[in-house]
């Protein structure tokens, strides 16, 4: 473990990808690109989880590998989320003939 890449490299990397994802959600107007950005954010959290599991000291009574299991569950949930998200984007596309989130503006006030 001594010659390994240090933990803070992983944390910097995940923080960077989280920031990239968040920027993407806030700036991109294409609904599919927003979906991609959300995926990047979820995966940043996954990197954190696995890195903390690898380097951290598990608390007493918390089981041997909660971080990895949580990461696996997140991957599954992310897949489900994207499936639903794409479905909703398609539904909106059929109505507006556009995937631009700024165009969906029936509701306001």
């Amino acid at each position: 473990m001594i010659d390994d890449v240090p933990l803070n490299w992983f944390l910097y990397f995940s923080a960077a990808s989280f920031a990239i994802g968040l920027t993407g959600v806030l700036l991109r107007r294409n609904a599919v690109a927003v979906l991609l950005a959300i995926e990047i954010m979820l995966n940043a959290a996954n990197i954190n989880l696995v890195a903390f599991w690898r380097y951290g000291t598990p608390a007493a009574g918390s089981g041997p590998m909660p971080g990895v299991i949580l990461a696996l569950l997140v991957i599954t949930v992310a897949a489900a989320e994207v499936a639903v998200g794409l479905g909703l984007v398609l539904l909106c596309y059929r109505r507006w003939r556009a995937v631009d989130v700024d165009r969906y503006d029936t509701l306001s006030g």
């Binding site: 910097y12 954010m41 903390f52």
Partner: protein, 564 residues
Amino acid sequence: MPPNVVPLDLRDFLCVAPAVVLALWGLVVVAADLARFRRLDHESRRVACGRVTLIGVGLALASAVFLAWVDALAQSDADRLVSLFGDSLGDYFGRTDGLIFFGTQARGLAVDVVNVLLLTLLAMVVWMSTAYRFTDDVGEYFALMLWSTVGMMLLAASEELAMMFIALETTTICLYIATAFERSRRRSPEAGLKFFIYGSVSSALFLYGLSLVYGLTGSTYFDAIGRMLHAGEPGLAGNLAGASALVLILVGFGFKVAAVPFQQWAPDVYEGAPAPVSAWIATGSKVAGFLVMLKVFVHAMGPWSHPTNSVMGPGWLGLVAVVAGVTMTYGNLAALAQTNFKRMLAYSSIAHAGYLLVGVAAASVSTEGPTSAGAVVYYLVVYALANLGAFAVAAWLARDKGTEAIADLAGLGGRSPFLAVCVGVLMFSLIGVPPFAGFFGKLYIFMEAMRQGPSDARIILTWLVALGLLNSVVSAFYYVRVLKVMYLREPSGRPIEPAKPALALPIVATAALVTVLGVFPGPLVELSRAVAFPMLTARRLDAPAADDLPAPAPAPGNPDRPTD
């Protein structure tokens, strides 16, 4: 370290019987719709599907009540359980340690009470859905409502971060789809997509915060996190990872319960979704969300509430107090300008989230400990009932007029006098006028806030209570406007038709309940306090006590630790 595998106790599934029943019944509903009801015309197909769904909700309700009876017996007379269920099962039911599935889920009377509440609300929502046509895919719609409830029940009972995340996603993913179900209208898919984007971004923020908490404490169990933080260094001063974890988790919950400044999705989604779905987002998912928020903030992150004994110092108490104040003020002021009934209810539910956050803040400083969260539980029950009735009115408008303008309620006082009185009761309860239950809900939350913790906290919370009272006065204006339209305005066009039983019953039942709970608040208050206590103290018996724990060893090379 080789993973030491503990065998799963299959009897644990008995304790989540209501969730299991609902999950399977969702499949039954879809299959029955495909095989039998598809050939019927839309009206009878919808009613038939609704009835089948109600049977499933009834079964789940029966199992929840049965479990409540068993758990009540376990507390009073555990020996009788052994004679009733035999040695193995009787012993199992007689245990009152309260955690199942490796400690990831709570069980016991508190959980059963919450399940009964959620299932009762669900039954009304399902019946409300049979009243009018808003979608052609009725089987899938009802199945989604059942599955989202499975998520809510597991969410309210979760005691661990992974379980909580899964349950949260189960709930919201089902609700994203249900929101977009009214495909004949443009606004419904739009609301679904907006809900999805806001919701999944907030889950991602939340998950990142959660991963930092896991990194800091090495555990994902609420109780273990609480003990770890308790034993570790106090506060967030200079602790970048801890502070960002706290803020990110607060943002995540802020989205889920629609607190300012993360409330933008709520009005659009409540307006765009079919009325029964809005009702379920506003009641069921909010009840479960606030219960788990209490667990995470008061139980797991309680030591970070006000570590230096000053409210505006490091810690989440000051943040939550500020968010609560801003949320209730914004919600009430924005609701004043609304003409759409559902949109008005959305802003009013933002305002109520503000009051509830006062309760969350109060629960962490109260001198009474965990039972003080009972005020939040009581408020949630009352709020959910009154709001459900109000959304039934919105469904009535949507069925009859196709819109939900408040102005369309004109003349209701003369045409359906009894229902108009019931709507009036619901509005008064939402304002918080005695003797209706909404008044006592606010009273108990504000009383808990006044019960002093540290003296500094008392001053801040007193200001918050004063702001809350002022806000209640503001909220009276827009709720009373509904009454004014009902009684004093003549309908300009075609007046609203009388409601069908499917709509009238939820309105009458919720109005009756908020009146009864307002006149006799005692039993429910006692029950809420009894529910709150185990919810915020559940811990694994095999886990070591806080005193035996060594301080968390800093991970090598972690830049975010102040000890480095």
